[in-house]
Amino acid sequence: MMPERNILDSLGSGLVVLDERDRVSFMNRTLAEMLHATQEEWLGRSSGELALVMARFAQPVASPRFDWPEAFGSRDIEWRDGETLRFFREDSSPLAAEGAQENAGKGRVFAYHDVSHEKAVDRMKSEFISVASHELRTPMTSIKGSVDLILSGFAGETSPEMQELLEIAQKSCDRLVRLVNDILDLSKIEAGQLKLNLERLDVTEIAVRAICAVKPLADKNDVRLRVDRPLPLPIVEADPDRIEQAITNLLSNAVKFSPSKSEVVVELSSDNLWVQCAVCDQGAGIAEKDLHRIFGKFQQLSEGRRKGGTGLGLAITRGLIDEHRGSIWVESRVGQGSRFIFRLPIAAPPSPPGTPAMAGQAVKP
């Protein structure tokens, strides 16, 4: 049987194991070569030293602001070696100890998989969608503009039948625009190309903005909107526009599926770790068999299509919350309304002025 070390050295992915004292107990040949070193040189050296050396090559592509999660983690890093640029997916997990469970978690293993090809394909896909979106907008502008102008009466009187048919064209065109916008957003999220402009903010303000955006739709459907926030919220670090987009999506859905004279409430709360936002409606609710697919792409229920949805709103919302290292889920029962709930991690307190940033923190293995 082949020795384990040979097997690990033959892997195309880099591998390093840190022991319970955060020291390198094993590094495979692939990772050592990535670092221009030998495996032996690294044995026994600290994770801090490793982080410093890796910082010369690596910078996180996404989410550089977050520390490693407690258990399992995965992120993409950009690896610059001279003129060569590659992308690696860094997976981190606790070292599974043999036998006794109390030893589990003492030490961690980090694996570096080359995902440069996948990144290139993602980028091409995203560029294609971006160009296609632009190309689709041009004829849509002419169609929508012409129809809107005829409906305004600018080009003369229209018969009631013509008016009705033109209104169908107008509504369909608006839906097509929403669809193109949603596809563009989702492709950016999926390609990891969404740039978040992070700010320290209070989710209450964002919720109020989202309510203002959805109010015209709510008024039209005779649905009341309300924010329920019993206590001041801790600050989160988030992109205000993207969180507003997420809450607006949830609120628009809630309004669309609410009976008239009902109420949609945005409940804001927090605990030690999270700020929570729940959008609660008094609509028909969702059958249990549909709950698992509600955040999927084009998984809208038949009612949703009838109400002019694109089928991508919830997939985008989940993508936006995931990008913020938050979580999102739904609680619903038929006949009892739905609660769409998301959580965002509470921001760390701001560093006092003059505190130097920790070297290599962003790439800490």
Binding site: H134, T141, S152
Partner: protein
């Protein structure tokens, strides 16, 4: 204090003739007296030697010179620097908007736009009464 401007002369730089027509009708409907339509940068600079618009409505994706480059040149030239430029484009991404605004544009409207409100949006931008410099021109974000 912001004052409401009356639009009387508009230069539209747009290579799609159908969209040109929609813009022209939409502005005409609101009483804009002179609407000059050109298909690209060269024609735009040529017309500016004899036509002084209240605002230039500028597309981005055009052959030869794109709208960003046209805006850059307009803002570099002392003779045209003061003319307000408003982008009207299908490039809707945040980075595109930021690029347009950094070049000195007064506003950034996106396609598809609402022909019923286009005039008012431009007036709000030129008068300095628009809520934000970057706006959605169309329905749906």
């Amino acid at each position: 204090m912001a004052r409401e401007v009356k639009l009387t002369r508009v230069l539209v730089v747009e290579d799609d003739v159908d969209i040109q027509k929609v813009i022209r009708m939409s502005l005409k409907m609101r009483g804009v007296a002179e609407i000059v339509l050109v298909e690209g940068g060269a024609e735009c600079f040529e017309r500016l030697s004899s036509f002084a618009p209240d605002v230039i409505l500028l597309d981005v994706m055009m052959p030869h010179l794109d709208g960003y480059e046209i805006c850059r040149r307009l803002k570099q030239d002392a003779a045209t620097r003061a003319i307000p430029v408003v982008f009207l484009t299908a490039r809707v991404q945040k980075a595109d908007r930021e690029r347009g605004m950094k070049l000195g544009a007064l506003g950034y409207l996106t396609k598809p736009f609402d022909p019923m409100t286009l005039h008012d949006q431009i007036v709000a931008l030129v008068s300095g009464t628009a809520g934000g410099k970057e706006q959605e021109g169309g329905t749906g974000k």
